[in-house]
């Protein structure tokens, strides 16, 4: 029996894709520009089917790449000749326990669906990546996803209390945050599908704040806006979110259907949200307002009603897509710098953009120092594509030089492999590979990602695929 036939026997005919045309959309995730063709794609319907698929792939020795909704921004869910294991059909919210404030979910549940389901208990799921209307919780777990509100509430790592994991060899392990022994759950979160595949996860739910106020401050100088960010944090106010958008981003948003009424002539706008108990909130709102104005804000708008707040947020959440209007292609970057370095980094980024003749749009989680410099461009223009590439490499190097990191929430995936050497020593990268080998000694799960191949000494996936296929054929007496 062929591998495809074995998988069809598990998931049914329509949920295994093999033909070239049908695999095209699975060549990319949310980061356009990279294309890798999987050998086939398989979509189990539930945890039992998923486990059976993992075990079939294990006995065949075939590499595989887990994928949620394909909204990732680092090329992490691309399968180069490997099997693509789509987990989007595992979309059941198994249980919500409002008393313990936890939810048990399958990995394919869409982030915002959990919040929707928890609303009636006055709870929500706090990590809110901008793709939350599309991305899955399993993908969030794999990437240790962040989001605007992670400034106050923490990233995915801080919200996962347990995961039932299918290791690449088909063993099932239950990892719990309060397990004695090593923090294996902590190591698993953010392992980008290289340590195995979560079949079920238990996450914390957070009480909805009693009151929420959103402020929009606009600045005529991007430097003033950046200084304001540090000043707010230093003043002891911990906003739920502190986001910054530059003029180019505001322009894109305002031209889209998500126009939020941002001032298009501002050099930068800050979106600040404070939430929590009603008591003391006004003091924080006034504090933010005062700090913004003291740092040169032209105007500070304060929204308290849900509709008005949603409108202010809408533009931020859809900013990345709105840049699709500016040019046919878009590079999306993700880097973090110490907060006090924001003003100088933004100046450097602007200079790098100018030197390379590209337009950098900055939209980012300023409160965390988490930059998202994005460049809209036309990939069919070789010269422009080269300039974009140079600019991005220079920006990332500037972030590393400033004591920062190459990814705050998107993951390394394929796109950031090239920066790993500049960030970590060879021994550290080797240590990461050793950890990976504990979970996946065959290195079949999401091969070629996160750590550059020479440290992990991986075989090429295509070769491995062929070998695995042969082994499968031998085992069954059939042909591949």
């Amino acid at each position: 029996m062929t591998l495809a036939a074995s998988l069809r026997a598990i998931v049914g005919d329509t949920h295994v894709l093999e033909r070239a045309a049908e695999l095209l959309v699975y060549e990319s995730d949310g980061l356009p520009g990279y294309h890798r063709t999987p050998s086939l794609a398989v979509f189990p319907a539930n945890a039992d089917e998923a486990l059976a698929v993992v075990r079939t792939l294990a006995s065949a020795g075939v590499p595989y790449v887990p994928r949620g909704a394909g909204t990732g921004l680092s090329g992490g869910a691309l399968a180069d000749g490997a099997v693509l294991l789509g987990l989007h059909r595992l979309k059941k919210i198994i249980a919500i326990d409002p008393e313990r404030r936890v939810a048990r979910v399958e990995p394919g549940v869409v982030n915002v669906s959990l919040t929707k389901a928890a609303t009636k208990f006055g709870l929500h799921y706090a990590p809110d990546p901008s793709s939350q209307t599309a991305c899955t919780l399993g993908g969030n777990l794999a990437e240790n996803a962040g989001g605007p509100h992670c400034l106050k509430y923490g990233v995915t790592l801080n919200h996962v209390v347990a995961a039932k994991v299918a290791l690449p060899d088909g063993t099932v392990v239950e990892l719990n945050a309060d397990d004695s022994g090593y923090d294996l759950l902590g190591a698993f979160v953010g392992s980008e599908g290289c340590f195995g595949t979560a079949l079920e996860l238990t996450v914390k739910l957070t009480p909805n704040p009693e009151r929420v106020v959103t402020l929009l401050a606009d600045f005529t100088s991007i430097d003033d806006a950046a200084q304001t960010v540090s000043a707010i944090i230093a003043a002891g106010i911990l906003p739920a979110a502190l986001e910054m958008m530059d003029r180019a981003t505001v322009g894109a948003v305002e031209a889209s259907i998500y126009a939020a009424g941002y001032p298009t002539d501002a050099a930068a706008v800050l979106l600040v949200e404070v939430d929590g108990a009603a008591a003391g909130l006004d003091e924080d709102v006034q504090g933010v307002d005062r700090i913004c104005r003291a740092h040169g804000a032209r105007d500070v708008r304060i929204a308290t009603e849900p509709a008005a707040r949603a409108k202010l947020w809408q533009g931020r959440k859809k900013a990345f897509g709105a840049m699709g209007r500016l040019a046919p292609h878009l590079v999306v970057q993700d880097a973090v710098v110490p907060r006090t370095k924001l003003p100088s980094l933004l100046a450097q980024i602007s200079a790098i953009g100018a030197a390379n003749g590209v337009q950098v749009c900055n939209v980012f989680h300023a409160g965390d120092g988490n930059l998202h410099p994005n460049i809209p461009y036309n990939a069919n223009d070789r010269d422009e594509a080269d300039r974009v590439h140079h600019a991005m490499v220079a920006i990332m190097q500037a972030c590393i030089d400033a004591g920062g990191t190459i990814t705050g929430e998107h993951g390394v995936g394929l796109d950031k492999l090239r920066y790993m050497d500049a960030l970590f020593t060879a021994d550290t990268l080797d240590g990461m590979c050793r950890l990976r080998d504990v979970f996946d000694p065959d290195r079949r799960a999401n091969p070629g990602k996160v750590v550059p191949i020479r440290y992990c000494r991986e075989r090429r996936p295509n070769t491995q695929m062929a070998e695995g296929g042969r082994r499968m054929a031998d085992a069954t007496g059939g042909q591949l």
Partner: protein, 296 residues
């Protein structure tokens, strides 16, 4: 000869030699928590890490700090207080222990419920593993998903995978108002749950029994309220509404914290999870020389 390396390079060579000789090492920074884990094999040789001390990098505007792992929690507290900041580790056992040990043992404290566990506060480490390799995972920024998470792995590993030499931590601005109250009640555990779920939760609340806070101190709940003035005023009202509340000194937390001790255990692990644990130990300390036996 006492093993007291003065640099990471020296530490690496000490560990490399010990690994070659399969000689057990007992990691000691300030030596306050040596009774915490399971007994370390008696023949393990003490390895003193107190040279890895002091502030390495502290830019208050970033609200992050990098310190030598042997720095005490009290010294960290004093250094950050000068800039109106703090790292809310406040581990069980008190402030005499080292920052490195707090991270290595993942020892929480009364603040963890509201302000995060050690795994939530540590941003990066430098450490030398059981093969003598120096690892520098994580970083000094507050958000970082670059690479596999060796930081979380080292946090709570009880020095059985690597000797931590340097720790980067997330800081917070100190609250404008920070006060402690003792609510006299014999239903303290219930009250603790209720306050934590209220709209103005305290940053810490712990059940105390008669005599904990000095001779004749009553049964009750020790509560710490922090935030801006308006918030604390509202929280204070909630506490007063719950019973007979007496203002207490911040030092009241010391006996509560020192009464507890971090404990390592690896009991009750599922066989598949235990196999992963063994795999991790083997990957980072294949000779089994670092704190041998400490995790049971």
């Amino acid at each position: 000869m006492t093993l007291r390396p003065a640099s990471v390079a020296e530490l690496a060579s000490v560990i490399t030699d010990a690994a070659a000789a399969r000689r057990g090492l007992r990691l000691i920074a300030r030596g306050t928590w040596l009774d915490g884990g399971a007994p370390v094999s008696a023949d393990a040789e003490p390895l003193y890490l107190d040279a890895f001390d002091g502030i390495i990098e502290y830019e208050p505007g970033d609200l992050t700090i990098t310190v030598g792992a042997a720095m005490s929690v009290a010294e960290l507290d004093a250094a950050t207080a000068q800039h109106g900041q703090w790292c809310p580790l406040a581990p069980w056992g008190g402030d005499d222990g080292s920052v490195g040990a707090t991270i290595a043992t993942a020892t929480a404290g009364p603040l963890a419920h509201a302000l995060g566990l050690p795994r939530d506060l540590v941003l990066g480490v430098e450490c030398v593993d059981g093969t003598g390799k120096t690892l520098r995972p994580g970083g000094k920024v507050v958000k970082n998903v670059a690479g596999f998470d060796l930081v979380r792995l080292m946090t709570g590993s009880w020095g059985s995978l690597a000797a931590i030499t340097r720790v980067s931590l997330r800081l917070r601005a100190r609250p404008a108002v920070d006060e402690t109250w003792l609510v006299v009640t014999d239903a303290a555990a219930d009250l603790c749950q209720r306050l934590r779920r209220s709209v103005t939760p305290p940053i810490a609340c712990e059940v105390v029994t008669r005599g904990t806070l000095g001779a004749n101190s009553p049964d009750g709940l020790l509560v710490r309220l922090a935030g801006n003035a308006a918030y604390v005023a509202a929280a204070r009202d909630a506490v007063h509404g719950a019973g007979d509340a007496q203002r207490a000194d911040a030092s009241a937390w010391t006996p509560v914290r020192t009464a507890a001790r971090p404990q390592a255990t690896r009991a009750m692990l599922d066989p598949a999870v235990r196999a992963l644990n063994d795999g991790v130990k083997h990957a980072f300390d294949p000779s089994g020389i670092l704190n041998p036996g400490i995790m049971g």
